[in-house]
Amino acid sequence: MSTLPPVEDIKAQIEAGVPGAVVTVVQNGSPSAQHSLLLGREHARDAALFLRDHAELRLDFCSLVTGVDWLDTETSEKVKVKKVVEGPDGTQQETEVEETRKTKIPGYLEAVYHLFSMEKKHGPVVIRVRTANRADYAHVPSLTPVWRSCEFQEREAFDLYGIVFDGHPDLRRILMWDGFADFPMRKDYVPPDDDALATVPHGKSPEVQA
């Protein structure tokens, strides 16, 4: 059993091996410290092929594909800004004023892949690919041509999150029926108002009502 190099080294190897590839290390702050590699959409498939065929990494098995929904977020930070303020005696004075600056981070959908090597008996390497936005049917490249085991799991991510995997051989809903319009695992999904015996108004949890 070989040990995997740290993700930073894998990132450097991808960037060296795949011209133009953009790879970012996503830190995992939890005790598991399972850091992952965020691949740019344009070169994700080339990078995946590189990881699969690399002589030492040989990540020949994709065990898991899942989706993650990241909503639009807003971060606010307090910044000290120098401003010219008119003092009580009428003179212009330069003082430091604290301001809160808000930055909006637009949401996106993410496909996460867990890769292992059967040959080298190591893993997992976690890779992520993000969509440009949270619109219905947002696109990422499919990695099914690289790892055949992704086929059904990418269909599941398409079904429940609405991520379209470009290049997938058979992208249909897998759990819900074909005419279903929603993506139920998205965070803003509202289930249909179908409970005739509901004691709480639809869309509200008992805590919210109280």
Binding site: M176, W177, D178, G179, F180, A181, P184, P192, D194
Partner: protein, 210 residues
């Protein structure tokens, strides 16, 4: 049967004369030979299988012949979670059974959706589409509970009158023996419940509302 007649019957039987009525004979025959449908949905089905095997031996109640076709079955034991994708098939199976037919809703899921009630894919109880004769609570119910439900059903069959206004559904020409199969809609099943069946159910708060 009137009390006087009952006493006479007991008196006659003490003297070696057996008397009965057509209704009693008919119900006695029916209740001791209820053939369930070979049909299981989830973990409750494992308990149902255990009930039929040697230790609990449902054959003692004349129900050992699980029929592989709804056309030969008298009883459908809805044993497990009914997903919205499965619900039309369950209703269709019920529709294909010949009258008189009975339904046992086994376990929390079949009764109400159970722990998955708030899920996007689970029907909130099979009694929304087909009339249920016996509900068994439990998650899953033990085989003894299923046997108890079965005995309750036998008691119910035994008490059914052949004539009169209280005669069961299958002896009333105007009453339906099939119920509409729900369709897959864009957001869920359409309709969300069959009010003719659901609101008429005993102990249902909707019955009070209507």
């Amino acid at each position: 049967m009137a009390d006087g007649l009952k006493e006479l019957k007991i008196e006659l039987s003490k003297n070696g004369i057996f008397t009965t009525t057509l209704e009693e004979l008919y119900n006695w025959g029916r209740k001791n030979s209820v053939w369930p449908l070979t049909f299981g949905l989830a973990c409750c089905a494992i308990e149902m299988i255990a009930t039929t095997m040697a230790r609990y031996d449902l054959a003692r109640f004349g129900a050992e012949v699980f029929r592989p076709s709804p056309r030969q079955a008298d009883l459908i034991i809805v044993s497990g979670t009914v997903t919205k994708k499965m619900a039309p098939q369950v209703v269709r199976l019920y529709n294909q059974m010949p009258e008189p037919k009975y339904v046992i809703a086994m376990g929390a899921c079949a009764i109400s959706g159970g722990p998955f009630r708030d899920g996007y894919n689970v029907l909130k109880g099979i009694d929304r589409y087909i009339p249920v004769d016996v509900h068994i609570p439990g998650c899953p119910p033990r085989p003894e509970a299923l046997i108890h439900a079965f005995m309750t059903l036998q008691k119910k069959i035994d008490e059914q009158a052949l004539t009169g206004p209280d005669r069961p559904r299958h002896l009333q020409a105007g009453q339906p023996s099939e119920y509409p199969v729900p369709a897959f809609g864009e957001h869920g099943l359409e309709p969300a419940d069959n009010r003719d069946v659901f609101a008429a159910a005993e102990g249902n708060p909707l019955k009070v509302l209507q």
